[in-house]
Each structure stands twice: as C-alpha cells, then as structure tokens.
C-alpha cells in the first residue's frame, strides 16, 4: 500500500526497499508468509549476503531506520517508482528512469491525466505513470501476454494503485484500445507500433493529446515517423537519452619528477613537500581499476579503498576528488518518438492509413 500514500511507520502489507549497498537493493513485501519453490507457505525470511531478516520484524519500524541482519545491517527506504524500477522482478525488458522521466515530461502527464499504455510488461513505467496521474487519474494498460496481465494487476493492487488503473489482456494492434476520445496521452512499447498508431490517435481526446513510441531499432522509428506524419500528427521529435553515473572518489597520482626539475605542466600544483622520485607508477592504474570495476560496490568498501590508498600515498602525490565514469554503461536503450495530436484532427481517414 505504501506507494500511493505517505506514512512514517511500516505496516503489514507495505512494500519496502531494503538498502544494503548500491548493488544490493531489494523490494520486500511485508507479509507473514511467502510461497516457496515447492508451493508451501513458509515464514517470510529474506536472505542477503549479510545474513537474513525476518520481514515481519519490520512492522512498527520507521521508514529510514536501520535494520540488523544476522551478519551486518541495512536500511529500509520508502518505496518509490524509481526504487521499484531497480528492484522489480523482471518479466520482460523494462524501461529505466532516464527514459521514464522523459516520457512523463514529454507526454505532459499530471494529476488527473488519462493515459493509455501498451504493453504493460513488468510495470516499470506504469508505476511512474500511476504516481504522476494521482488519485483522480486513470491508466489503461494493455498487454497481449495473459500471465503478465494477471501478475501486474495484482501488483498494482498491492501497491495501492488499484483504483487508478485498468489492466487488460488485449492486443492493441488488432483490437485497438477499446476507448475512444478519452486519453490525454498514449505510450507505445510494441514491436510494431505503427499498427497501433491509428488506434492510439482514436484513443486521444478530440481536444488533442500526446503520443510516444519507444523502439530500440531505428528502422522501427523510421516507419513509425512516416505513419505519424501521414496521420497528420505534429511536433514530431525523436530522441535518445542516457544517464551517466559518476563515482565520487579521491585519487592521488604519483608524480614523475626528474631530479629537481618538475614537469612544466604540473609545476603549479607542486607542493612544498619533498618529492618521492621512486613512487610506483602502477598506482595510477590501481586507483582507476579499483574505481571502475566497482561501480556497484558498497559505500563502506570505497571508503576502505580510499583508506588503503592513503596508507601507501606519498606526500608528493597529486591528490584530487573526481567523478569517475563507469567503465561500462548502458549505451542504448531505445529511441523515444513523440508527437502531438492537434485538436480536431480528422479521424475518419485513420482507417484507410491503417
């Protein structure tokens, strides 16, 4: 229930986020029993690298408080769609926050908005939309996969969004959205979005609205844009957005100084202390390697690395704090194509385009 409102204390039925480290974040459902692999109900005990936690023990604790694990500790955070996106059980490929946030702004979704989404997938974007539309909005979400519809629907109810969402098992390309002239915005994440576009336009209010299509491949985009144009949509925009994360680290670089002559470009930074001519050059690489490979390490761990480095540092090292880029990051998720349905767009010609 916790997604849709605000509270200070954890209650049974909440979904909470257990934070142990940057790569160990889990969504836990606060309930006494879970079903194990053999289909039996067992006590809800969650296992982590640092030991286990009895989930029901969280009841009565404040959000933001520390939780003891048998071999360490973690923190319980309030669930947000963003945290859900990084912890949710994947049933499909999902959209991540950089794309999701762009979709919300570009589709101009706000409290009271009526939005159509196809397909539902794992519900990553749906959660963000459900937050944005508020208690008076409505999300119609569709998926052609029956099981996914069922699981997603139950999930939305558990998260307190039950009364703002309608989840349907439906192939929108063939059958359309089943609603006409009601939506402020339509979002499509489909293999062949062009087949659903005429239906999407009919779903939009006659006073106009916004449409978005998410596609990984440029060929899909090209075809989508052609259809959007032929349907008379305006303000076509295709873009791509990616987040780059930085790891904040203190780095110290040994200097290479030949006798008394310091290399000119570093001259200004030379401290008055004695230089150490024999410093191992290798350390530069060590630092970078340590940082890069552990984009996912826990905070305590970096502190240790930093401390470790300090031990070996020479006084003459050049030290600075920097944001280190990831050695490997997502390079492409998909192209987002947006368009506006102008008010009073003639919709009778839609069928012939389709």
């Amino acid at each position: 229930m916790s997604f849709s409102g605000f509270k200070e204390v954890i209650e049974e039925g909440d979904t909470v986020i257990l934070y142990i480290g940057v790569s160990q974040i889990y969504a836990l459902e606060v309930k006494p029993k879970v079903i194990n692999k053999n289909g039996q109900g067992v006590d809800n005990v969650f296992q982590t690298k640092y030991g286990s936690v009895k989930v029901m023990d969280l009841v009565g604790k404040k959000y933001g408080s520390r939780v003891n694990l048998s071999k360490g500790w973690g923190q319980v955070l309030y669930p947000t769609p963003e945290l859900w996106t990084i912890t949710l059980p994947h049933r499909t490929q999902i959209l991540y926050t950089p794309d999701i946030s762009m979709v919300l702004t570009q589709l101009e979704i706000g409290p009271g908005s009526i939005v159509c989404e196809a397909g539902t997938g794992s519900g990553s974007l749906s959660h963000a939309i459900l937050r944005a539309i508020g208690a008076n909005g409505k999300l119609h979400t569709f998926d052609f996969h029956k099981e996914r519809v069922k699981v997603a629907s139950e999930e939305f109810i558990r998260h307190g969004f039950g009364d703002r969402v309608i989840v349907l098992h439906r192939d929108v390309c063939d059958e359309g959205f089943g609603v006409e002239g009601v939506a402020d915005a339509v979002f499509l994440d489909l293999p062949k979005p062009w087949d659903a576009l005429p239906h999407a336009v009919s779903a939009i209010k006659t006073s106009g609205g916004r449409i978005c299509s998410f596609s990984p491949c440029i060929e899909q985009v090209a075809r989508t844009c052609e259809v959007l144009q032929s349907l008379g949509l305006q303000e076509l925009l295709t873009l791509e957005c990616l987040a780059r994360e930085f790891q904040v680290k203190s780095i110290s670089l040994p200097r290479v100084i030949n006798g008394q002559k310091a290399p000119t470009h570093q001259n200004t930074h030379v401290s008055q202390e004695e230089k150490q001519p024999d410093l191992k050059k290798k350390k530069v690489e060590e630092c970078v390697e340590g940082a890069g490979s552990d984009t996912n390490t826990k905070s305590d761990e970096h502190e240790q690395i930093a401390a470790g480095n300090k031990g070996q540092q020479g006084n003459g090292d050049f030290r600075f704090t920097t944001g280190i880029t990831q050695l490997k990051m997502p390079g492409h998720t998909g192209f987002l194509t947006f368009a506006s349905v102008p008010p009073g767009l003639a919709r009778n010609k839609l069928s012939c385009v389709a």
Binding site: L104, E108, G112, E240, R244, E245
Partner: protein
C-alpha cells in the same frame, strides 16, 4: 485533466510558435504583440482570432499592414513540399557562385508586401532559381523547408506546459535556466518523488521558477509545496506562465530562507512574527519606488509579456536580477530587500487580495471598472499574503517533507544542510547544479547528514532527424544539461 481549460481565453497565457520560435504572451483582445528578433524577422500579431479556439490550433497570418498581422484559424497547416518536383541526380554541376537566384532581395520583399501568401512567394523564388531544378529531391525539400521557415505564415498557439517552457527557455538561452535541460529536469522530478498529496520543498534560483512550476504541475491540487527562496522575492516567472488555477496555486507557499523555522519545531511562529514587525517600520520609502515602476509598465503595447508581468505584479522584481546578484551578501541590502518584499505584499493587497478575491471568480466586468479599467482580467498571482505564506510554509516544514529539491545558482551545499533536517527519513532528495564539483563535495558531506543510496549523474540527450533514407543524429546537440545528486535520507 478535469476542469482544465482547453480553449484560448482572454487573459490566459499562450505560447506562440512559428517554426522553432516560441514565445509566451498573455492574450487580451484588441492588443498586439511583437514577436521575433529585431529587424527582418520581427512581426506583430493581433491574437483576437485565437480567442475561443482550442489550444494547439494553427493559424494563418493575414497581413493588415507592413509588419502587422491578424490571424485566422486553419484546419490543415499548409505544407509547401508539393513544390518539390523531379530533381537532379547529384550536385556535380551546381556552382556556388551566388548568381542562381534571379530575384533581388528587394524584389522578394516587394512580393511579400504585395500580399502573396508564403507558399506563393516560395513558388516564385524556386521558379527564379536557376539551380533548383537540378538539385536532388532531398535537396529541394531542404531548400523549400528553409524558405518556408522564412516566408511561412503559419503559427500554432499552444497551452503553456513544462515541456514547451523548457523548450522556449532553452532555445532563447540555456543559461537563462542554468542549463537545466529537459532530461535533467525530468529526472529531477522523478527522483524527488513529487506527486499529488504529501509535503515537498524546493529551493530554486536562476531557473525562472521552472522547477517550482514543474513540481506544482505534478502535484495538482493536493498537498503542499514550499518554495524556499533567497533574496528579495520568490522565484515564480514560470509559475505565472502556467495558467495555474487558484486551487492549484494554493498548494504552493513561499518562505524566505532567513525565516525558516527551527528544525526542532520550537519558537518558529514567534520568531517570524517578530521579524515581520521590525520590517514594517521602514517600508514607507521603498513604497515610492514601487509605484513608479508600476506606472512605467502601463503601456498599451507590451511586447515582452514576461517583463510586463513581473513589473506590474511584483513591483520589487523589476530591479531584481542585477540587484540581487551584486548585493547578494551585504547585510544592509538584505534588510532593504526584506522591505521590498513587504512592499510586494502590501502592493498585492491593494492590487489583488482586496479586489481580487471576489472579482476573479464571478464578475470580470466589475473588475474592469475603476483602476483596472484598461487592464482586462488577470489572474491573481499570490493567493496569500506574505505573512500567511510564511506561517503556512513553516507549518508544512515542521510537519516534515517527503521530498526535497535544491536547484540553485548559489553554492548548493549550505542550502542542503539547512533543509535536510526537514526531510522525513526514508525519503528522497535531489540536488541540481550546473557544475559537478560542488556535488562531488556534497556527496561526502550529505553522508554525515544521513544520506544514503546516493548517485551523482548527468544525462546525455541526443535528437534525431528521421526522414526516409536520411535518418541521422541532429547536427547540433547540447554538450551537457547539468548534474544531479540524488539519494535517500535515513535515520542516523
């Protein structure tokens, strides 16, 4: 959205778009508004033809006199692309000698002034171009599109939205909004978890109130948003352009950073009253300045709606920016600024609170009489007095907030330390800065204030030209849209 007006009405803010050009203005019948860059591109519009039409409609510009146009709604925007005919194979025979166009610029202007439509002008231009026929179809299309931008006479009138406002500021000058690009703004909104219901706080400066406006848009009519501001007056330019209803504006309250309640909840109300009282004694002299400024703005032709709004309704802000920046830290000025702010409040009382409350809702006719005679209805900006704002904000902050946003030109770290105590444990904070360095520092400092799950990130944004056989990334892109540090606060 229910009850959201979808029609262009007298007194509402609209966004006029012509090609890539976007500008806001508040529509009043009988007035004309100047758009475009000084010189050739400048044009003056009377927007009466738009009244009663739905937002998002397109209009044809009809020449009334030299640079003056009236507008008429059109159903299907003219596309001049049918001028493109058969084209050549490639550009091997094209000479760039500047002699391909037989018409002189003067002749083209005469054509325009003779009353030919944009499309007809383009037609004549292409016919008089000796090389047009030899260009490839793609090249012809590009040429026509370019000319259409110049001679096109279609505008679209949009409802102001965060997307378009950001777009407008970004095209005018990204630095106007501290290079807060749309993807960064969007991420900021998501990570702050702002939503209808719940208490939120934002500290904003240097971005025209866009962050505040965007958060308010995500909150609708439920919950509380406190804008903590530094200097003489709240940051609300973008808020005023969004056509927020009074109900929506009630969500927002303002508080000067110097008047923040104690995080420990004691004494807050008594301290604020005390401060206000001391200020009242010195208001008189600055009152004169405010009156002067409001007089200067009562011109009939307000080309710059934005400026006009600011001057007219928050008198103190007319001398805002320079003064704010040059004097930011000197103490005497702080006092002076406080006085000015108080003025604003009293001015409001005169201008809006007193005659605003009734007139706003029912009889706009009555409002037009008397002092407001030449100015048709204009929505109230401040829905509360400053004192009410401060006590409202204090009580919201004392209850605790579920999301904190800091997006400012100043060194953000002190602000974050000041406001973090109001944030409920378990909830999120987001800090925006155009620079990475303060955020790197903050990254380690916030840890001691209970920050966890922190990320420092920036986003890449790339636009694409999508055309058959000619799809590629846009030729120009923004090199960076600012940095975000976000995380969650926990109990220590």
């Amino acid at each position: 959205m229910p009850l959201k007006k979808n029609l262009i009405e007298e007194g509402c803010v609209v966004m006029v778009q012509k090609g890539a050009y976007l500008k806001t203005c508040r529509v009043f019948s009988g007035r004309s508004y100047t758009f475009g860059k000084r010189g050739d591109g400048q044009f003056t519009l009377n927007l009466d033809g738009a009244l009663g039409c739905p937002f998002g409609s397109s209009f044809r510009m009809d020449r009334v006199s030299n640079k003056m146009f009236s507008i008429t709604k059109i159903e299907n925007p003219v596309i001049s692309l049918d001028i493109v005919t058969e084209g050549g194979v490639d550009n091997r025979d094209l000479q760039d000698d500047g002699r391909s166009q037989k018409l002189t610029p003067d002749e083209i202007i005469t054509l325009k002034n003779k009353g030919l439509t944009g499309k007809e002008v383009i037609q004549v231009i292409t016919e008089n171009s000796s090389t047009f026929k030899d260009k490839t179809v793609y090249s012809q299309e590009k040429y026509v599109n370019k000319k259409q931008k110049k001679y096109g006479e279609t505008i679209t009138i949009h409802k102001p939205t965060i997307r378009l406002l950001n777009d407008m500021y970004y095209t005018q000058d990204p630095l106007k909004i501290a290079n807060l690009r749309i993807d960064t703004l969007s991420q900021l909104l998501c990570h702050s978890n702002v939503q209808a219901g719940g208490n939120f706080a934002v500290f904003e400066s240097g971005s025209q109130g866009l962050v505040t406006a965007a958060m308010l848009q995500r909150m609708g009519t439920v919950g509380h948003l406190v804008q903590v501001y530094h200097g003489a007056h709240p940051q609300r330019e973008a808020v005023d352009l969004m056509n927020f209803s009074e109900e929506e504006l009630l969500v927002l309250s303002f508080i000067n950073v110097t008047k923040l309640p104690e995080a420990t909840q004691r004494d807050s109300l008594t301290t604020t009253t005390a401060t206000t009282n001391t200020n009242t004694t010195t208001t008189t002299n600055s009152n004169t300045t405010t009156t002067t400024t409001s007089i200067t703005t009562a011109e009939p032709m307000d080309t710059n709606e934005e400026d006009e709004t600011r001057k007219e309704e928050t008198p103190h802000s007319s001398k805002s920016d320079e003064q704010k920046h040059t004097n930011e830290d000197s103490e005497e000025n702080l006092i002076q600024k406080d006085n000015e702010k108080l003025d604003c409040e009293s001015q409001e009382n005169k201008d809006q609170h007193v005659n605003g409350k009734k007139s706003e809702k029912q009889d706009q006719e009555t409002q037009k009489s008397g002092e407001q005679a030449k100015k048709p209805s204009r929505p109230r900006k401040f829905v509360r007095t400053q004192v009410e704002d401060v006590s409202m904000s204090s009580s919201v902050l004392e209850q605790g907030i579920m999301g904190l946003v800091v997006a400012c030109r100043q060194y953000p770290n002190d602000v974050v330390k000041e406001l973090m105590p109001f944030l409920h444990p378990g909830h999120s904070f987001v800090v925006f800065s155009p620079y990475k360095e303060p955020l790197m520092e903050l990254y380690s400092e916030v840890r001691t204030l209970g920050g966890t799950n922190m990320r420092l990130s920036e986003t890449w944004l790339r636009h694409y030209q999508v055309l058959p056989q000619r799809t590629h990334p846009a030729i120009n892109m923004s090199g960076g849209g600012g940095y975000l540090l976000y995380g969650t606060k926990v109990l220590k």
